[in-house]
Symmetry: C2
Subunit: 136 residues, 2 copies
């Protein structure tokens, strides 16, 4: 059994990771951090390096916290939803933790298409969290 | 702190209640079962009785399981999403557990409007579960 978290270096991603870490500790299960990016033209060297640095930091933080973990960086042309649901099934996940984007730049509340797909397609429970106001 | 669960006597409602009960046990927190119905013309005496009987059974099951709980039946003209989010705020909830309807009668996957509102409006994390194939 394991906790799967969809992580990208954003406020919502950090909120999801924080919650997933505390759930892994509470349940004494392994944490699988999935950083999925479709790749393609927008994913240039600078962006790739930024993701890599963020994941290296996540590894260090989880090592320091003594949480058993695995970090998977997937750039294989899939939508993040597909990768997360697939990893959750492979890992017989207890729960998938995702961060929800709370507002668009003009202040409208929305549920992103990846969040919707994960909520609908995952066979395990999905825990949706929002960034706190004090998240960077 | 507490676990809030939106409960109606359906497969999804029972799945949510089962998950919420195990979370309450895991976290040693109180379980607040919220049965919210808008009321109005469709909510006749037969339907009201069916809800009341189902809630009485839920009370007995939680008593038997030794889970500290409170059952709130709310018929005050609100959408269930409004009631759940309000109760979660009053109770300083750790998490709201909701059941997702997985497929429409014609097999299409959908996220109901109440589920969407709860996911977007709740300030606490939301755990979304689906009914198992073996739920009645």
């Amino acid at each position: 059994m394991s906790i799967i978290v969809g992580y990208i270096p954003t406020r919502e991603g950090r909120a999801a990771l924080r919650k997933a870490s505390s759930e892994a500790r509470l349940r004494s299960t392994k944490l699988v951090v999935v950083n999925s990016h479709r790749g393609g033209r927008d994913f240039d060297a600078v962006e790739a390096q930024r993701f890599e640095d963020a994941l290296a930091q996540v590894q260090r933080d989880l090592d320091d916290a003594g949480i058993e973990h695995e970090v998977r960086a997937l750039v294989r042309g899939n939508e993040p939803a597909e990768d997360l649901v697939a990893v959750a099934e492979e890992s017989d996940a207890d729960v998938i933790v995702i961060g929800l984007r709370r507002r668009t730049p003009i202040g409208k509340l929305i549920l992103g298409s990846n969040a919707q797909r994960i909520l609908l397609e995952a066979t395990c429970p999905v825990l949706a969290v929002k960034a706190d106001d004090d998240d960077e």
